[in-house]
Symmetry: C2
Subunit: 346 residues, 2 copies
DNA sequence: TTGAAAGCGCTAACAC
DNA sequence: GTGTTAGCGCTTTCAA
């Protein structure tokens, strides 16, 4: 009842295993008759090569590892869908691991995937990762890695990111155009690429519109809003400012929903008292109360392009230094949380 | 720069590979000195055994395969978190695959995982799966499988499910208590266990309250609401009934959000004209417009219990027929979509 | 055109 | 206590 092997076929047909192997992999020098015989028998017995043996043999596995902060987040699960769809078509399997934003788990996952002989790695950095040696080391040893979304400045390889600067710039400009002036920014830890890029876009939009950048309107949430208290505290501080904000631009899913929850609890009217724009791919933005204005990333495409780059790297190793960074456009979807029902109708 | 092997250690220390192996795996008969030597050198060289070789050797991989319909769904991603947390602690790795509710992909994923020598399988059935041979076959060959959430009647093994009947019963009773009488049920394909269980609870609640069950109030969505048109059509049909429903009980995330979107589009007042209760773990139920009354499943615990059962099965193969089915309680969280703001305040 | 043999990394039965 | 050897499934020289 065990899986059939090349050996079984050889024995049954009274030929050698190497002949069977050649027949199966369509080698050039082989008697068509023998080949036919083998193929038919293999088909009949439903033979499947053992991928473990193959991996052991040549350290290739036709699989790629994905390391992301978490799955329970629409942006990342869309990313995965994009990754899977392409990988599947190109004959690669995808193995997913979550770092839960922990540096240790990111390292552990990386090691495991490497020992499992994945052919390449797709990574979105954990928010607590500052040391990149585990990736640098692998790259030097020749393992293809492509980063996406949360990418390291220090490592040279293909990268796929949303145009975070522009997305932020648009969101902030939009708030300014609707008459807001004291725009706060609730964001993730500062050492993430997405944080600095989004912050820069926010800042530039303010300055382009003659509003001075004020650091006290910016709050960094080290847990990215995953800890409720953190959200409450940050927003509490903002509201306690001498001139509390009249708008909040939130930088992630969790920060956005957390912010909405806190404002709702405090019975603050959105957008009249405080307008909200979120940098988020949350699926039900339309159904929220109020419907949420959002900067949406093309997560699916990001995933697709990243695997394509990775697989290209795997199959055609290229000279160093010839890497590309792809910026994908975000889109601002305007809803009531920033402009109100009345304004939206006109 | 390649990974160091047992052979390298043997050569360096001028001993045999088997001695190294013994030292490393703490075998009984070995000279403490030799052992120390080996251990230190291995440590120094950062030796890591090659799991591929181990798998090839004894067809064990210390990893378990998970096959679920999709990741981009809060219920399933919470399930995965539960699974991962426990598996990680017990030294197992988790490999996740999505069936996208397709029978073919479920079979393909299963085959792949098996060929990769996972030690066991955790499965939530695709909605389009009716033939279970791929699982039955594996079980007969001795592969441990535990089903969760969407489970097959025909296969005897451990199963972990929410108490779907009771959850539905509660939801429906709740709607009846708030004065609704024409309660529709929007649900998934009929051959899923969750569908029949939830339908039964709904039906029983109606009958216990003297309301006759009316098949025309039940709509089965073959794509589970993933296709927007399907939702719209189903709800359109319900609204076109001579006596349109005054409440809708929706059986899944997608069906719930889809239903809300359609009602909102048609400017139907919730809950005054139609009340909504969803069987859903959606994370932002509180923030929806209106806040959503939901039957919530203990997804995390379900995942945890399922892996525990699976790993127990892997490590202590047991006699057939001694399987358990665990029912975990759901909780009904009442919000405005079923009772309205006024009623909720009192 | 085919077969024999070695090797990928590791373990274990069997010698010594 | 340690070394030798075979074998997990497969590919690939090297010979014939």
């Amino acid at each position: 009842m065990e899986a059939i092997t090349i050996k079984d076929i050889a024995r049954a047909l009274n030929i050698s295993t190497s002949t069977v192997s050649r027949a199966l992999r369509n080698s050039y020098e082989i008697n068509p008759e023998t080949k036919k015989l083998v193929m038919e028998y293999a088909e009949k017995m439903n033979y499947r090569p053992n991928p473990i043996a193959l991996s052991l043999k040549d350290s290739k596995s036709k699989s790629i590892g994905v390391i992301i902060p978490e799955i329970a987040n629409h942006f990342f699960s869309q990313l995965i869908n994009g990754i899977e769809s392409i990988a599947y078509n190109l004959g690669y399997h995808v193995v997913i691991f979550q770092s839960h934003d922990s540096y240790e788990r990111e390292v552990a996952n990386t090691n495991y995937l490497v020992s499992r002989k994945v052919d390449g790695l797709l990574v979105s950095l954990a928010s607590l990762t500052t040391n990149l040696f585990h990736f640098q080391d692998l790259m030097e040893r020749g393992l293809p890695i492509v980063f996406l979304d949360r990418v390291p400045k220090e490592i040279e390889t293909h990268k796929v990111v949303a145009d975070n600067f522009d997305g932020s710039y648009q969101a902030t400009s939009h708030l300014i155009q609707t008459g807001k002036r004291r725009i706060a920014h609730l964001t993730s830890p500062i050492y993430l690429s997405i944080t600095t890029e989004r912050l820069a876009g926010y800042r530039k939009a303010l300055e382009d519109n003659g509003i001075p950048f004020d650091e006290s309107y910016v709050r960094y949430c080290i847990y990215g809003g995953k800890v409720v208290a953190e959200n409450e505290e940050a927003i509490g501080e903002l509201l306690a400012l001498p001139e509390p904000p009249d708008a909040i631009f939130t930088a992630s899913d969790r920060l956005t929903t957390g912010c909405l929850a806190v404002l709702q609890k405090r019975r603050i009217k959105i957008p009249e008292e405080i307008a909200i724009v979120g940098f988020t791919n949350i699926s039900v933005a339309e159904l929220l109360n109020p419907p949420l204005t959002a900067v949406v990333q093309p997560a699916l495409e990001m995933g697709q392009q990243a695997v394509e780059l990775l697989i290209r790297l795997i199959e055609h190793p290229q000279k160093k230094g010839d890497y590309e960074i792809r910026f994908l456009q975000t889109s601002l979807i305007t809803r009531e949380s920033s402009v109100g029902k009345q304004a939206l109708k006109t």
